[in-house]
C-alpha cells in the first residue's frame, strides 16, 4: 500500500517536472513544441508509474501462492508427507497465523514455526518488490525526464499507450470468462476423474453426503444429477407459467392500451420487481407464500410439503415478470406500424390486430425474452435456497419438495471444504453445467434477437 502511494507520488513528480522542463525548453512559446507540455508530463508519469505499479500489483496478486510454495518446500518431512488435503488445511492455518488472525484452536508448533517463516518471507518479498518498484519508477521517470525535447513526439506516444491501456481493460472481460471456464472446468475434470460423467448425467440418485470420507470417494453411487435437473426444470416451468402470461399481457396492455400517464407510473413500478434483491424474494417465499400454499392445500385436502416447489416457483415467477414484460415490450414496439395500420385498414379491432398481426410478428423477440427469463430462473439461487428443499426427489409433483442445481452448489460449498473430496468438486461440476446451460440459452436468445432486428430494420 505504501509502496503504491510512493510510486504514485513519484509519477506525479515526473509529470510536474517533465511538464516544467517542456515549458522551459520551449521558452514559453507553445508553438515551439511538437506536443503540449502536459503530454510530456503524462508521458513521464505513465513511463514511471505504469511498469512499477504493474510490478507491485503482480507481486500482491501472486505473493501468497509463491511464498506458500517456498514455505511448503521448507517444511519438515513429517508435515510435507501428509496427504494433499491435510497439507492444504495446514497451510491455511499457517496463513491465518501469519496474518495474526485467530485460529480458533491450538496451533501445532510446526504451524507456528511455518507461520513465522511465512511472515518473514512475506515481509522480505514486500520489501524487495517495494524497493524494486520504487527504483524502477525513479529510473524510468528520470529517463522520461531526460527525453523531454521540443521535437519529441510525446502526444503520439501517450495516445498509443492509452490505447493499449483501454484495450487491456476491454480484455479483462475475456479474462473473467477464461477464469470462470478454467476454474470451473479444472475442478470439474478432477470430479469426473472420481465419478464417471455417465453416472453424473444419467444417475437417478443424488446424496453427496455419503461420500464425505476420503476412502469412499467414487465408490458410492450417489452423484446422479438427474433429480437436481428435473427439480430445476420443474421450478423454472412453474416460474414461466406465472411470469409468461402476466408478463406478456402486461406488456401488451402497457404498450397498446394504457394511457400515457398510467404507463409512466406502472412501467417503473413493474421494473422495481427486477431491482428487489433476491434474498427478499426468498424471505417472501419462505415466510409468506409457502405457508399460504400449505394452508390452501390442506384446506383442499392435498398433501403439500412445507418447502413445495410451487412456492419457490411462483415467487421466482414474480421475480422474472419484468424480464418477460420489458423484452416483450421491446419486441412489440419493433413491429412496424405499417403492419398494424394495414390490419386496422381491413377493419380488425385492436385485440384482433394484436392477436393475429402484432404477436405473430413479434414472436421471435418474445421467445428470446422467454429464453433469457428461463436462463435467469435456472441460475437463480437465493429464492430456492430459502424456499425449496434439500432432499433430491425425482418428481414432477409441484406440491412436493424438490431441490435444484443452485441449492446443491450452495449446500456443498457452505461450511468446511476439502478440495480433494468429490463432494466439494461436485459443486464445480454442477457450476459448469449451470454455466453451459445459461450460456447456450443466452447465445440462442441473442441470436434470435439479432435475426429479428434485422428483419424489420
Amino acid at each position: 500500500m505504501y509502496t503504491l502511494a510512493i510510486i504514485l507520488v513519484m509519477a506525479a513528480g515526473a509529470f510536474l517536472f517533465s511538464r516544467q522542463r517542456a515549458w522551459a525548453l520551449a521558452g514559453g512559446r507553445s508553438s515551439a513544441l511538437h506536443s503540449r507540455p502536459s503530454y510530456h508530463g503524462w508521458h513521464a508519469a505513465l513511463l514511471s508509474g505504469g511498469p512499477a505499479i504493474l510490478l507491485v500489483v503482480l507481486w500482491f496478486l501472486f505473493a501468497s501462492p509463491i511464498v506458500g510454495a517456498i514455505v511448503t518446500a521448507g517444511l519438515p518431512e513429517v508435515v510435507r508427507s501428509q496427504p494433499p488435503g491435510t497439507l492444504q488445511f495446514f497451510m491455511q492455518d499457517v496463513q491465518r497465523l501469519a496474518a495474526g488472525l485467530p485460529l480458533g484452536r491450538e496451533a501445532s508448533p510446526e504451524a507456528i514455526e511455518a507461520a513465522d517463516a511465512y511472515a518473514r518471507a512475506m515481509l522480505a518479498g514486500n520489501w524487495v518488490f517495494g524497493v524494486l518498484g520504487v527504483l524502477l519508477a525513479g529510473w524510468l521517470g528520470w529517463l522520461a525526464y531526460r527525453k523531454v525535447d521540443p521535437q519529441f513526439r510525446a502526444r503520439n506516444r501517450v495516445e498509443r499507450w492509452t490505447d493499449y491501456i483501454l484495450l487491456s481493460a476491454a480484455a479483462v472481460s475475456v479474462l473473467i470468462t477464461a477464469g470462470i471456464v478454467f476454474s470451473v472446468l479444472f475442478e470439474s475434470l478432477r470430479f469426473f476423474s472420481m465419478v464417471s460423467p455417465i453416472e453424473f448425467f444419467f444417475g437417478l440418485n443424488w446424496s453427496p453426503q455419503t461420500a464425505i470420507r476420503a476412502d469412499q470417494v467414487g465408490s458410492s453411487g450417489s452423484f446422479g444429477a438427474v433429480p437436481l435437473i428435473t427439480g430445476t426444470l420443474l421450478i423454472t416451468c412453474i416460474a414461466i407459467f406465472v411470469a409468461g402470461p402476466i408478463g406478456i399481457m402486461a406488456a401488451i396492455w402497457l404498450s397498446q392500451y394504457a394511457p400515457r400517464r398510467v404507463r409512466d407510473v406502472a412501467k417503473p413500478l413493474m421494473e422495481v420487481l427486477a431491482g428487489i434483491p433476491t434474498v427478499v424474494y426468498g424471505f417472501f417465499a419462505a415466510l409468506t407464500v409457502a405457508p399460504f400454499i400449505r394452508r390452501v392445500g390442506e384446506a383442499l385436502g392435498l398433501n403439500v410439503a412445507s418447502e413445495s416447489a410451487l412456492a419457490a416457483g411462483m415467487v421466482m415467477g414474480i421475480m422474472i415478470i419484468p424480464f418477460v414484460s420489458s423484452l416483450s415490450d421491446d419486441a412489440i414496439k419493433a413491429v412496424p406500424t405499417a403492419l398494424r395500420d394495414g390490419s386496422y385498414g381491413l377493419g380488425a379491432t385492436k385485440a384482433e390486430t394484436i392477436q393475429r398481426v402484432i404477436l405473430p410478428a413479434a414472436l421471435p423477440g418474445i421467445i428470446a425474452g422467454f429464453l433469457l427469463a428461463v436462463s435467469r430462473a435456472i441460475g437463480e439461487t437465493m429464492i430456492v435456497v430459502m424456499a425449496a428443499g434439500l432432499a433430491a426427489n425425482l418428481t414432477v409433483n409441484p406440491f412436493a419438495a424438490v431441490t435444484t442445481v443452485t441449492v446443491q452448489i450452495v449446500t456443498l460449498l457452505v461450511g468446511d471444504q476439502e478440495f480433494d473430496s468429490a463432494k466439494t468438486l461436485a459443486a464445480f461440476a454442477l457450476g459448469l453445467f449451470l454455466f453451459a446451460i445459461t450460456l447456450v440459452l443466452n447465445v440462442i436468445a441473442l441470436y434470435i434477437l439479432q435475426r429479428f432486428r434485422e428483419r424489420y430494420d
Binding site: S64, P65, A99, L101, R155, D163, L166, A170, V172, S173, T177, G179, I180, S183, V184, F186, G247, M249, A250, Y257, A258, A266, L269, M270, G275, I276, P277, T278, V279, V280, G282, F283, F284, L287, T288, I318, T349, A351, E352, L372, R376, I378, G379, E380, T381, M382, V385, T406, I409, V410, L413, V414, F428, G431, L434, F435, T438, L439, N442, L446
Partner: protein, 442 residues
C-alpha cells in the same frame, strides 16, 4: 394457370353467398367488441396483478419488520453496593472488572420483586433481562467508578421473548405447553409494566451491535461495515476498468474478429448466473491468490467481476447517446481521437455513466449468492475493522437470520430487509435525480 382458375372460383363463391341479414352482422360485431373489451381487461388485470404482488411483498416486509425498530427496556434501580463491587475501596480497575455483577443485578431484581426470592423465582427474574445485562453494569462501573455506593436507575435490554410479548406477538390464549414464554414469565412482565418499569425506545442496538446468538443483542453493524467495504472495493475496481473497456469498444475498437469476440463475451458475462461468479471467486481469489475467507476484500473482488459487464453495457449506451456531431466538430478543430473522447464525449456522457454505475452498484449491494460461496456466511460477532477481517453483508445477514427459529430473528430479518431496501431506494432515487438534472436531448 391453375392457380388463377381456382382463385377465380373462390372469388365467385364469395360473391355468390347471399347477403347476411343486418342483425347477424350486428351481433357478430357486438361479439367482436366484447372480445376486444375482454382482452383489454385481461391486459389491465395483468398489470394490476404484477403491481399488487409488489405491494403485497413490500407490505409483508414492512409489517414484519417495523416492530424491530422498537425495543423494550426494563428500568431497574440498581444499588451499586461497595461491599459487593469493591470491598477494599481503592477502586482498582482490575478488582472492579472482576466483581460479581450478576449478583448485583440479582439483588436489584429481587428488590423490585421481593416475593420472588427463591431459587426458581430468581431464575425467572434473570431470564427476563438479556444476558448481556451484567456486562452492561460492569462497563458502566468501569466507565464511571464514582457511581459505586449510589443507587442508579439503569435501562436494561429486555429478553427477546418478553419483548415480543409486549409487542403483542405472543398470544397468551395458546396452551402454555405450545409457547416458549410460560404463564409465570408473562405475569412477571405484566407486573414489571404495572410498576412502570418498562420503557420502549428506538432500537439503537440494531445499528450499533454485530450479530449475536441473542436476538435482542443482534444488530447489523458488521453487515453494514462489510457491505460498505465491499461496495468501496467493487466501485474502485469495476468503474475504472468498466468505463475504460466501454470507451475502447465504443470509440476506438477496430472491426475485427477479436473485438467481436470481446463484445459477445461482455454480453454473455452480463447474463451469467451470479452463483457462478461465486465459484470463480472461490477458485481464484481464495484458493489461488490466498485472500482470507469471509473477508470483505474477497467479496468486493467477486462483486467487482460481476458488476463489470453491467458497467460496460451502461457506459456504452451512454457513449452511444452522444451525437456524432460532437465528435465531428472536435475532430474538425484539430483534436486527436483521444482528445475527442476524453475532452468532449466522456464529460458529456458522464451523467449517463454515473446513473448506470449507481444502478450496477445497487445490484451488487443486494447480491447474496456469490458471497455464500466465498464463506461470508460465517457468524460474525465482531465489527470488522478493515477489508481483511471476516465480515458479512446486509443481504447475507438477512439470509443468516432467516435460519433462526426465534420470532424475534424473523422480525430483525425483515428489519434488515427494510434497511437494505432503504439503501437501494436511496441509490435509485439519486440515479433518477441525476438523470433528470443532466438529461439532455440532442
Amino acid at each position: 394457370m391453375t392457380d388463377l382458375v381456382s382463385n377465380g372460383g373462390r372469388f365467385a363463391a364469395i360473391t355468390q353467398r347471399p347477403p347476411r341479414p343486418e342483425a347477424v352482422v350486428a351481433a357478430h360485431t357486438r361479439r367482436r367488441y366484447v372480445r376486444e373489451r375482454r382482452f383489454k381487461l385481461i391486459g389491465m388485470s395483468a398489470v394490476i396483478v404484477a403491481i399488487s404482488l409488489l405491494a403485497i411483498l413490500l407490505a409483508t416486509v414492512l409489517s414484519n419488520g417495523a416492530g424491530a425498530f422498537r425495543q423494550s427496556y426494563a428500568v431497574l434501580d440498581v444499588r451499586l453496593d461497595p461491599a459487593q463491587i469493591d470491598p477494599s475501596g481503592n477502586r482498582d480497575p482490575e478488582v472492579l472488572a472482576d466483581a460479581d455483577y450478576q449478583a448485583v443485578l440479582n439483588d436489584a431484581l429481587v428488590a423490585a420483586f421481593p416475593d420472588m426470592d427463591d431459587r426458581q423465582g430468581r431464575r425467572a427474574l434473570r431470564a427476563m433481562l438479556s444476558n448481556s445485562s451484567a456486562l452492561q453494569l460492569r462497563q458502566m462501573v468501569l466507565d464511571d467508578p464514582a457511581l459505586i455506593g449510589s443507587t442508579v436507575p439503569v435501562r436494561f435490554l429486555l429478553d427477546d421473548e418478553r419483548d415480543q410479548y409486549l409487542k403483542g406477538e405472543v398470544d397468551p390464549s395458546i396452551p402454555e405447553a405450545n409457547r416458549r414464554l410460560k404463564d409465570r414469565d408473562i405475569a412477571l412482565v405484566d407486573r414489571l409494566a404495572e410498576q412502570g418499569r418498562i420503557e420502549t425506545g428506538f432500537n439503537w442496538t440494531l445499528f450499533t451491535n454485530a450479530d449475536s446468538r441473542e436476538p435482542e443483542q443482534a444488530g447489523l453493524r458488521a453487515a453494514l461495515v462489510g457491505s460498505f467495504w465491499m461496495m468501496l472495493i467493487c466501485f474502485f475496481l469495476s468503474v475504472p476498468v468498466g468505463v475504460a473497456a466501454a470507451v475502447y469498444l465504443e470509440e476506438f475498437a477496430p472491426k475485427n474478429r477479436w473485438i467481436d469476440l470481446i463484445e459477445v463475451n461482455v454480453n454473455n458475462l452480463a447474463a451469467v448466473p451470479s452463483i457462478v461468479f461465486g465459484l470463480l471467486g472461490l477458485a481464484i481469489f481464495l484458493n489461488l491468490f490466498g485472500v482470507p475467507r469471509s473477508a470483505s476484500l474477497a467479496g468486493g473482488l467477486t462483486l467487482a467481476l460481476m458488476t463489470l459487464p453491467v458497467i460496460i453495457v451502461v457506459t456504452r449506451a451512454a457513449l452511444r447517446s452522444i451525437p456524432p456531431s460532437i465528435r465531428a466538430a472536435a475532430l474538425g478543430i484539430g483534436a486527436s481521437p483521444l482528445q475527442v473522447v476524453f475532452h468532449h464525449v466522456l464529460p458529456l456522457a458522464l451523467p449517463g455513466i454515473l446513473t448506470g454505475t449507481i444502478i450496477g452498484m445497487a445490484r451488487a449491494l443486494g447480491e447474496t449468492a456469490p458471497l455464500l460461496m466465498i464463506g461470508m456466511v460465517a457468524f460474525i460477532a465482531n465489527v470488522p475493522s478493515g477489508p481483511l477481517d471476516p465480515a458479512t453483508a446486509l443481504p447475507v445477514q438477512v439470509f443468516l437470520w432467516s435460519d433462526s427459529p426465534e420470532r424475534a430473528f424473523t422480525e430483525r430479518m425483515a428489519a434488515a430487509i427494510i434497511v437494505l431496501l432503504g439503501f437501494l431506494i436511496a441509490m435509485n432515487v439519486i440515479a433518477v435525480l441525476l438523470r433528470k438534472k443532466f438529461e439532455r436531448t440532442w
